[in-house]
Structures are given as C-alpha cells and as structure tokens.
Symmetry: C2
Subunit: 343 residues, 2 copies
Amino acid sequence: MLSDRRMTTKKQEYQRPVSIKDIARRARVSVATVSRALHDHPRIGVETRKRVQQLAREMGYVPNETARSLVRQCTYTIGIVMPDASDPYAAAILHSIEDMARTVGYTLLLVHSWGMPARELEAIQTLRKRDVDGLVLVSSRMGGQLHALTNKLGRPLVIVNGNSAPGVGYTVRGDNVHGVILATEYLLHLGHRRIAFIGGPEGSRSGWERKSGYRQVLRNEGLAEAIFPGNGRLIDGVRAFQVMQQQGRLPEAIVCYNDLTALGVLQAAWQAGVGVPENLSVIGFDDILYSAYSIPPLTTVAQPKAAMGEAVVQLLTRLIRGEPAQNILLPGKLIERSSCHAR
Amino acid sequence: MLSDRRMTTKKQEYQRPVSIKDIARRARVSVATVSRALHDHPRIGVETRKRVQQLAREMGYVPNETARSLVRQCTYTIGIVMPDASDPYAAAILHSIEDMARTVGYTLLLVHSWGMPARELEAIQTLRKRDVDGLVLVSSRMGGQLHALTNKLGRPLVIVNGNSAPGVGYTVRGDNVHGVILATEYLLHLGHRRIAFIGGPEGSRSGWERKSGYRQVLRNEGLAEAIFPGNGRLIDGVRAFQVMQQQGRLPEAIVCYNDLTALGVLQAAWQAGVGVPENLSVIGFDDILYSAYSIPPLTTVAQPKAAMGEAVVQLLTRLIRGEPAQNILLPGKLIERSSCHAR
DNA sequence: CTGTTAGCGCATTCAA
DNA sequence: TTGAATGCGCTAACAG
C-alpha cells in the first residue's frame, strides 16, 4: 500500500509515419515537388510550395533521416566511445561534446568501452556500421592496434586524452606533463620535500605523462621519489593511503593521478585521523564537479573540459569537410583550494 | 618546450566504403547472392558462400546499417533524452541503460535536455527524425505537454523517474514515497524530533513525492515540518544549510532531496564547524558513487540504478515487439553509513 | 542454388 | 515550374 504499482497492460500498435509520398498523393503533385517545397528550393511555384508545406504540417510529416542519410552519404551523426559515462571526468567531456555537437547539427551515438581495448574495437565496429560521419575516442587504451584500424576506418577520428598511435587520427588532450609539474612545484613552494605520487591506469598515456612530470620535478630537486600504484578510481586513493600508512611511509604531500584518487585519499586520511591539510597535503588533477565541495575542498589542476568538447567538435567538423587540421594541446590550470598547506 | 605541440597539418581524403555491389562484381555473382552468403541464408551453395565471405573479409566489407534500417524499417537504435550527463545520478542511469541496450543489440543516441521542457521537445524531434525504435526520457519535466506529442510519436516511449502524463508511454521509477519514508522513520527511530527537509526541483514529480513522504511521516507523529527549497544540486544543499543557520533554525536531522544536496550540507556544516553526525544527522537519496566516500560516509536511500537500466531496456524491447507491458516501480533501500547518529 | 526485380524514403538529374 | 526516372545500399519475393 506504500506503492501505487499500477499495472498498465494495454497493447498498442504504432503506425507508419507519413512520407513525402503520402503528401504527394494528397497534394496531387509528384514526390519531387514535395521534396522541393520542403527544401525551399528556388525552382518551385510559391503557390504550390505553401500548399505543400501547409499539408506537411497538418499531416505531421517528419523527414526520415535514415533515407536522407542514404542518399546524402552522410549521417550528421558522430560516434563516441568512452570507458564509462558514470566516471565524472568522462561524463564532463561527454557533456561538453554533446553540447557543442548539437549546436552544429550533429547527434551523438554513444558506446561504452569499459576501458577494455577489445570492447573499444567492438564499439568502433558498431559505429562504423552505423555510418557515423566521424568518431571520437575518449581515453582510448588501444594504442598500436589503432593503426590497423585507421586505414579501413574511412572516417575522421579524434582521440581525446587517450593513447594514440602516430599518424592515426588527430588528438585533443590536456597537457598532463605541464599540469603535474604545476602541481608538484606548488607543493615544493609550500615547503614540502617528501612528496609521493599515486599513479593512474597501467598503460595509459595520461598515467605515464603525469608520472613522468612528477619524476622530472623531483629529480631536478634531488628529492627521493615515492610512487604508489593506482587505477584512477576512488578506491585506489583509499588503498594507496592505507599502504603508505602500513608501511610507515606517509609523506608530507601527495600528488594524485586524478581527483577521484585524491578524494579517496581524503577519505582514508579522515578515517585514519590524519588531518588534511595540517598533517598531509593532497593535490588532484581534473577538477571534477565534486572537488569544490569535498572536505576539505580539493586543490587540483583543472582540465579545460568545456574547451575540450569545443575543440573536439571543431576538429571533427573540419576533418569531415576535408579541411586541414592540427592536434590540439590544452593547458591546465592550478586551482588553489584548501587541501594543501605550507609546511 | 614543456609541450610537444606537434602540428599535423596533412589533408586527407576518405574513401567510399566497399558495398555488396563491389563484392558481387569481384566474385562474379549477383548482389542477392552476396547478401545471402553474408547472412548464412540456407538456400546458397556452401562453396560460393565461403568464397564470398572470404572475399568480403579481404575487402574489409562493413554492412551499411543505414541502408539496412531503411528496408528493415527499424534501426536498432534507441534515443535517450536526459538533462545532463554530468549529473552523477543521470550518468549512472545512462550507464546501466547503455550497458543493457548493447547486450540486446541496440545502440544509443544521446541528447541533452538541460532539464528544460523546450529542449526536451527539440531533442525528441531530433530523435524522431533519426527514426529511433524507441525513446527513453530520463527525469523528464514535460508533464502535460507529452500528451500532444505521444500520439504523433509513433514509437514506444519509456519515462524514467520523470513527470509523466497518464496514458503517455510507460514508466520506470524508483519508489520515492516509500524511500523517503524509510529515511524519515530511520531518523525518528534514532530519536530525532526536529527533522527538516530540503526539497528538489520545483515541478518535478520526484521532488513532490519525496516531499510528501516526509510530510506524511511527520504529520503522523505530530511533529512540525520544516521545509527548505532546493534544486537537487550541491550548491542547493550548501545554501539551505546556510539559511537554516542564519535563521537559527538548525534542526537535529535533515532529510535531503538527493545525495548531491546532502553532500552540500555536509560541506556547509563542516565549514560552519557543525559536526556531522554528532550535532546533525544528514540523510540523502540516490546513493551516487561518491556517497560511500564522503566525509563522513553518507547514509542514504539507494535507488536500484542497475535494475532500472535493465527494466527500461526490457520494457522498451517488449513494446517494440508489440508485446503487452506494464509500468515498473522499484523499491529503494536504506544504506546505513555514518552521517546519522542517535540522539 | 542463383539471378532478376522491386522497393524502403528521399534528393536530384534530365525532360517536358 | 513540374514530373518521371534514377540511385543511395541493402533485403526479399519471385523466377528460373
């Protein structure tokens, strides 16, 4: 009685949509004329045009894009392959791409890859069959295997923050090395010397780049590196912190592969009674939605997610039109909040 | 020199994909034979079949789904309209729908609505032209306007957790009333008497239901209601808390419209030095990914998001096949974590 | 077993 | 200005 579990059990038939042929019949003209009327074609009588358009509206005509696509040989559809829409970072990218794509008349076909190369391949095949005008791979893990694919793809390809093979498609990416240098040097300026790093997914380019930026800075300063494995999820931050503590290797500050990892560290530190930022400084990467509201608010390197979406769509439309294009590298920006503290 | 801003400025032409006609020519058979071979049609020579299949593989043939869709009169595509993929709750739903849809051979066409009825309408039109086999509206705000639409839609419609008009499409929803009763009674059992509620979006069904569940419980107990407006975002939780404090109306416990709002309250309370759960109990709704890792971990009513995706796709496929169907109401579950404390 | 034909809904060329 | 015819890539009904 708590629930109004209404059981609707009607059966329903769906009727065939009206086509230009139907309109033609009713208007007593040819389908060609209808087509022209609907397109405001110049060579048509103003009289018939109005009549046909009126009729189309009355009959609830909706153009069949499938048929159009077939003759036009382009679908105004772009395919997007991403690991997982429930990852806040991926979702933000998806969000900005969808937004931009819509404004230029494209619709998005979405397939998840779960970060698995095999699934990615499958997804790409699916989208290729769907005859998308262009393809976006977010956080691709395929690397070399892309090579074999790209020749046969026959469609423009843009890779966002993923492993790309040279000469395969175009890329839009955040500047990971620069960003993590920003983060690490910030910690240095705050007076920290024992700075650890929690890594990202094995074999991912962003993971590699962020790690090497960290190493580069520490090496320049002659400081010891302390690198802990991770996989970019909340739980990885939790675990890494626990490992540090169990091993008695708690540092003064931690650079995290991404915000999710950092948020995990915040949680684990709180559980363990280690105060952030008084006893431990934590810095993230990405600036996801939640980071501004974590406890304490997370200092992080923001990725320009909106700009990325724009860049992706712009790049893709250029490629579709056959115009020259170039890879895009976007700088990150340090966002100072409250998870880091001077020593 | 920090960035490898490589400028790739090649211009590239994309070639026409190979069609069954191409294969037919090379194999010196008719297109019908090719089609049959590719489909393992019974009435074909095992010899020619193998030859054609081999050839197709060599030539890198990929079937054109657009053409298929045209003759088949169905696209194996389902359209999904949601406010915003970067909302963690919506993203989780999207995730589970995509996952389920893929396994049954459907691909997703995604359009954002930004929670604006006008945009929703636009999105539905877009998808209708795309000739989707079915439509999913997540957190729709359209309400009555759906009526006019649905007759002309000509496609099965499933509404997830949104405003629906009676007789328009089918619905899959979490049991909001029951869920919020669970939450409120839990607080009651913990000994709280001054329990406030922070509401959701104005005019949304879930907002209304959750509020009325709360009111129902308080009324039964003869307790005073304290309702603060909200809109389902983090910032709404922050603001509501600030208002409570400024007005000197801080309660013993707060039931929040959703987790995002609750997370905002956690943050604001922390900023204000109000300890959760010692001085204030907070309970959310949805159980988004992050809630298990907030500080403190958030007690909440979990929505069965995976089950929802399953239900949506199953319902939709039934409708597409013209089978009888029924609305689905899924129960929520209380997840006890650490944001509530006995008085 | 295989080829020929027609047609899905639409845009476009060529005639009229 | 309009109509008839053709084809986009593919499937399916009908002949052979």
